[in-house]
């Protein structure tokens, strides 16, 4: 079960939940499951990058998750360019 953290700006779409655990083999499936459960997240997640265990990944969709994976959603910054 990956641990998913929601920032304060996202909690308005999660019914106030700051953290949930979720079973997903990869980021791709995780995002699908999240949006299914919290439809309001769809727009936000589209514009956020994913941090897996502290590592910010720009192209994370097919990254595998483990039961210990900690997930954060991070504003997309343009690393060094914009």
């Amino acid at each position: 079960m990956a641990i998913v953290h929601f920032s304060s700006t996202l909690t308005r779409h999660t019914g106030g939940l700051h953290q949930i655990t979720m079973d997903a083999p990869r980021v791709h499936e995780l995002l699908e499951a999240l949006v299914a459960r919290f439809p309001g997240l769809a727009y936000e997640l589209e514009h956020l990058a994913v941090a897996i265990d502290g590592e910010v990944r720009p192209d994370a969709a097919y990254e595998a998750l483990t039961s210990q994976s900690e997930i954060y959603f991070v504003p997309k910054i343009a690393g060094g360019f914009n």
Binding site: Y43, E55, G80
Partner: protein
């Protein structure tokens, strides 16, 4: 991570491209000429904000030597977006920026392009292009842009907000984002001291010495060759293809040597125009910007307004912060305000905060990246307010920062927890530095400031080929702006155990190199470096196979030992074979060896820096001089320490210039009045002291050597370091840059 003993990494070899660069042989953007080449010149708007009614090119076309004229009508705006790493680039905006269609959105905005047999003829014709403008009121500040009655730059603009908000009519606010944690009201209630100030920084330019330049040739088969000075040849290829609706496979981009970029040579300004002109005339076309054009029509960085309120306990513990960041994007959306928001409190553990960041369009050139985009202006606010709190509470500047400094496991303000980071080590290095320990001379102010930058990862490729003489060539697609060739050669040398002089690093064109993202984001040594290391290890694996073949043993009975392959079970016949020995037998053992690698690593480990500035102020004239300066930074691992120091020194001096004198000076009607090196006052050699450096090395675990990026974070601390030094020298708080003599004298005279 166990301590690794390096042989090539960490040394200071002479760069491979050095001889060409000290003898004048190296070719930069404007250095190529082709037979039959024509010259293109851009016609630019004399108004900061104007509707284009019509363009009459008849008189211009009649100038002898003129071969063609291009206006916005000649290519359609595309709706495509180009995914580039994390940021999708809006090609419609980029296309409109290349040649204005409906409106000219800043003074210097391109409206037409002329191509002729000489620069002189093209310039003459450009003057004769008649544009009928309906002149509109220009919007020149975020304050004006956000007023209810402000002229609107883009009628269709909708605020892109995170969290989402309902669109509310026409706006110049292109974007808004929030970051928050905890309960800021409760946090401020815990505070014994609250400081709130508003900071302003001006539009400033990267100031690279080489103007934008390119040459384009269209071949008979439709293949298009672009030679250009750019931070990203693949980006030039893909953006040009998308904007013009061409097949990228038909474009080949060859990067020239690049005379500085600092982020400013990421966008395309000339290349698509030159392609169109070359197709129109079926002749090679060269386009070179003048310095005036570089200032007016490339991409400087945002002017900003940043409000920061911070509360702390008597012991210096920061308990709450709230901030609003307003960054000018220039004529099209895309300021680095979001990055500013994320960096602003990144060095400190703040339990309760609320940050909002606005991206605001104004009638100025569209901003481009500039070294740690967005972070320096935000750090100015944070570091000035912390300085003031420490001063007011009578706390030591380093102790207060150490007390709040983030460490491994602390959550970054933008969400995830930090891995191993070096901020505390950086602060300790400040405390132990000769500079910090030295007494502050009378009449001098000493300022300290810190800074944070993410450092990018993203896609990179590398090829390493082994020659039969045991030398190696490494091919990548990253233009070398500051010594990345030699660093990559060091990595190959490190992995293969051969001398760095035996490695030839090559920056290749887009047909030759595997796809590689731009030289930016402090990523070249990190991400492309990882590809280079992996490609070298691929060569090593193949060499093991060759040794196995020679010895007639299975692969697993061989192992790599620095610079050679050794048998797991040595015997008289089977002794270790060096790379050179194996290389001499390549043909016999299966042919040439080429190692490949392609990577897309996560973002590099965050980099932290701290700078110390001693400033002397002439209280009668407001003029100041930096008399001593030290830059301290966590590099993870310095591959070539001289070029790491160089990045630190260069970033420091750019930041000093930004803090003291550099600014775009605008007239009321939006014309930049100082578009030249005479009056856009970048530091000259006599303005600066030696810039001392201290490299801290806290390895980044995701990189085989521990490398973090180094190129950007050094420009983050200087604004605050200089402003804090000025405050300590004068006893006054300074919140508006630049700290030019008139501004400083005015404050001293007011004495408040």
């Amino acid at each position: 991570m166990s301590e690794r003993i390096f042989t090539a990494v960490g040394t200071r070899p002479v760069r491979h491209d050095g001889v060409d660069k000290v003898t004048g042989r190296a070719n930069y953007g404007a250095d190529l000429s082709l037979p039959g080449m024509l010259h293109g010149v851009v016609v630019r708007s004399p108004h900061a904000h104007a509707r284009i009614r019509s363009i009459d090119t008849q008189a211009a076309a009649a100038v002898p030597g003129v071969k063609g004229i291009l206006t916005g009508k000649d290519f359609a705006l595309t709706n495509a977006k180009l995914g580039l790493g994390e940021g999708a680039m809006d090609l419609k905006d980029m296309s409109d920026n290349l040649l204005a269609r409906e409106k000219a959105l800043y003074h210097g905005h391109a409206v037409a392009a002329v191509v002729a047999t000489s620069v002189t003829a093209a310039q003459e014709a450009a003057r004769l292009v008649q544009v009928d403008y309906d002149v509109l009121e220009p919007v020149l500040s975020v304050d004006r842009a956000m007023e209810a009655d402000a002229p609107i730059l883009h009628e269709s603009m909708v605020t892109q907000a995170h969290p989402a908000v309902e669109p509310a009519g026409s706006t110049n606010v292109a974007g808004r984002m929030e970051l928050k944690r905890g309960d800021i009201e409760a946090g401020f209630k815990e505070a014994d001291i609250i400081v709130e100030r508003v900071f302003r920084t001006p539009t400033s330019h990267q100031g690279y010495i080489e103007p934008h330049a390119c040459v384009v040739r269209v071949n008979e088969d439709g293949r298009i060759n672009i030679w250009t000075t750019t931070q990203g040849p693949f980006l030039v290829r893909d953006a040009t293809a998308a904007i013009l609706g061409l097949d990228a496979a038909n474009l080949k981009v060859t990067p020239s040597e690049i005379g500085g970029g600092f982020g400013g040579k990421i966008p395309v300004y000339l290349e698509p125009l030159a392609v169109l002109l070359a197709r129109m005339t079926q002749r090679p076309v060269k386009m070179v910007m003048t310095r005036d054009e570089v200032f007016r029509a490339s991409g400087p960085t945002s002017a900003t307004k940043v409000r920061l309120k911070m509360g702390a306990r008597k012991d210096g513990t920061i308990v709450a912060a709230s901030a609003s960041l307003y960054y000018e994007a220039g004529a099209y959306r895309g300021s680095p305000s979001g990055a500013g928001a994320m960096c602003m409190l990144a060095p400190y553990s703040v339990p309760n905060f609320f940050i909002e960041a606005y991206d605001v369009v104004v009638n100025k050139p569209k901003v481009a990246a500039y070294r740690a985009p967005g972070s320096p202006m935000a750090a100015l606010a944070t570091e000035s307010v912390i300085d003031e709190i420490a001063q007011t509470l009578g706390l030591d500047q380093i102790e207060m920062r150490l007390q709040n400094a983030v460490k491994e496991g602390d959550r970054a303000p933008y969400g995830p927890p930090y891995g191993p980071i070096g901020f505390r080590q950086v602060l300790e290095a400040v405390r132990n530095s000769a500079h910090w320990k030295s007494p502050v001379a009378p009449g001098i102010g000493r300022g300290l400031a810190c800074g944070f930058w993410f450092n990018a990862g993203m896609s990179s490729s590398a090829t390493v080929t082994l020659g039969s003489d045991g030398s190696a060539a490494v091919v990548t697609g990253n233009p070398d702006i500051g010594g990345t060739r030699v660093a990559q050669a060091q990595m190959v040398a490190e992995e293969l155990g051969i001398p760095v002089e035996r490695v030839r690093p090559i920056v290749a064109d887009t047909d030759t190199a595997g796809f590689t993202e731009i030289t930016a984001g402090s990523r070249t040594c990190y991400a492309t470096g990882m590809a280079v290391i992996d490609a070298s290890r691929d060569v090593r694996e193949q060499l093991r196979g060759r040794a196995a073949k020679i010895w007639g043993v299975p692969l697993d009975e061989t192992r790599w030992e620095h610079g050679s392959v050794a048998p797991v079970n040595p015997s008289a016949e089977r002794t270790a074979l060096t790379v050179s020995e194996l290389a001499s037998k390549l043909a016999k053992t299966g042919g040439p060896i080429i190692g490949h690698a392609a990577v897309n690593p996560p973002m590099a480990g965050p980099a932290f820096a701290a700078h110390i500035c001693d400033l002397e102020v002439d209280r009668e004239t407001g003029r100041s001089r930096v008399v001593r300066y030290t830059a301290i930074q966590d590099a993870g691992k310095a591959v070539h320490p001289s070029y790491v120091e160089g990045q630190m020194q260069g970033g420091a001096s750019q930041g000093i210039g930004w803090a003291l004198n550099e600014e775009y000076i605008y007239s009321a009607n939006g014309v930049m009045e100082n578009a030249g090196f005479l009056d856009y006052r970048m530091p000259v050699a006599s303005d600066l002291p030696m810039i001392d450096t201290i490299i801290v090395e806290v390895p980044h675990p995701a990189h085989p050597y521990g490398v973090r990026g180094v190129g950007e974070v050094p420009i983050v601390p200087p604004l605050g370091a200089v402003a804090n030094a000025m405050s300590h020298a004068t006893g006054l708080r300074f919140t508006e840059l630049p700290l030019s003599p008139p501004r400083v004298l005015e404050r001293i005279t007011q004495g408040s």
